[in-house]
Symmetry: C2
Subunit: 298 residues, 2 copies
């Protein structure tokens, strides 16, 4: 018999098992979540990256955390500045980074050349669902409006977890402007928290970005431009023909289902396990994503 390991099946909408009961896995809880536990990802906060080979990646933007950088990114996407761009860097257990077609091109109208350091924001207004366990990087950790959030005093920020998208920059005081972006691909490099702007997260397609060949030059850059992974385009979903717009939902982190899911992530009592951990790290509770179901109420 093939030996297996437990799975966190975030995208198995048909993985319904027995009716909800004790000792459920996180995947079971997600599979049985009612429609009211899910929130739509609006098309004007969603980017669709299409690689030259046709594979796609969906990225949800977080304007509530980095409004100016996100504004720049939306301007760039609407002007198709990444069409003909490329993934130029894949560093194992760290990041995948991409660049626009022409770094020297005049930015589009409305672009802010030198955004402020949107590395954290005011905590006020954030409705925080605590993680419930310690975080070595921040005094407070939890979730708000379907995002993971860390906080200290009156400041809050998006943590640099697996799948989170941030803004590449030069040495301080440069903050980056949104033209070069990266996604975290490995153990969460939380030392980057509050040092670079986090603008969003990959919702679908990490299996594509994560499997790219690692670059062999320093920092994981591709040594030869011929190795760069060509990007066909990065577009705002709202600008795509309706039939091409992804319809995705993320779990509401203020829902009872999310509370149960978080508890199950921290305390695995499903049959595969012999000992629950009684704790979990912030980045080890990825907020569930699913394709929106036809006829779903919201």
């Amino acid at each position: 018999m093939r030996r297996i390991l437990p799975i966190l099946a975030l995208l198995l909408p048909n993985a319904a098992s027995a009716a909800p009961g004790p000792h459920l896995s996180p995947a079971d809880i997600v599979a049985h979540a009612p429609d009211t536990a899910w929130a739509d990802v609006p098309a004007d906060r969603l980017l669709v990256m299409t690689l030259a080979d046709g594979r796609q990646v969906a990225i949800e933007l977080a304007p509530q955390f980095a409004p100016v950088h996100v504004g720049n990114i939306v301007h760039l996407a609407r002007a198709h500045r990444w069409a003909g761009g490329a993934i130029i860097r894949v560093q194992d257990n760290y990041v995948v980074q991409w660049a626009p077609r022409d770094e020297k091109a005049q930015p589009p109208a409305g672009f802010v050349a030198h955004p402020p350091a949107e590395y954290d924001r005011a905590r006020q207004g954030i409705s925080f669902h605590p993680l419930g366990f310690t975080d070595p990087y921040a005094p407070a950790a939890g979730f708000a409006t379907s995002w993971p959030v860390a906080a200290e005093g009156e400041r809050a920020w998006l943590p640099q977890c697996y799948g989170m998208v941030g803004v590449g920059r030069d040495m301080p005081p440069d903050t980056g402007d949104g033209r070069e972006l990266y996604v975290v691909n490995g153990e969460a490099p939380r030392q980057l928290d509050r040092n670079l702007a986090v603008v969003g997260r990959v919702l679908t397609g990490m299996e594509t970005l994560g499997a790219l060949p690692r670059g062999t030059a320093a920092l994981g850059f591709y040594a030869d431009k011929a190795q760069n992974v060509a990007i066909r385009d990065i577009a705002l979903a709202a600008d795509l023909p309706p039939a091409q717009q992804p319809h995705l939902q993320v779990m509401r982190t203020d829902s009872p289902t999310f509370s149960a899911y978080l508890d199950a992530r921290a305390n695995r009592t499903d049959p595969f396990f012999v000992r629950p951990a009684h704790g979990v790290a912030l980045c080890n509770v990825p907020v569930p994503v699913r394709p929106k179901r036809q006829g779903a109420a919201r």
Copy 2:
């Protein structure tokens, strides 16, 4: 100017920068480490996996944590039971798993058919260098003889960090026997701590394993056997011709250099950073590895 992100350059022996001083990056500290900060990885604790395409992965074994499972693995390697085997599963942000050529073959002499649950061990005898920060999965976390270690009361275990190798098993009470192994490839699935036997870690070659295409069947298994990634062999380094034996060193976690490295991982003050985190997670302090230098004292 290309925008960059900081790098943890664990294998850049020539990345010497300025003489040691303040505000060093972890990479700087590793690059300047004296030879006395490094310990050889013995050839009889080292596996060399060679894929059919010639790429290699070096795996250090941890018999002090899982002696029976490691004993089985050594028997299997010496009998070349993975020659003609394959990587059968690659699940994004989770594991890469491989299997021997013939699951039905009679195990080699000396093989223990039903090993005990080597999911943790007595803490006694472990010389613990504390991490110095909280861990949501264990009351105590740190390092011992160049391994990351978590502990609770009188028990200690190897955490399921990126690059750690564990034993695939079926439902309890099965413990696995070492024939199917996996490596963690993503955010540390620490919920697996004390639920599966950890037998070692990948020292070199994660850039190969991490970049494999993700399987599309459930749990990341390859849907079609034709997609399996063929293994030419997994051999014990000590059994290879001397010229083929990797000579690797890991940093001594009882060395002053390691203390400085750990501090730098937790407090990035090198020029790229604007704000140190003042903390770090256990799995975000990978123990440095380097090729042994010719003429190095040990």
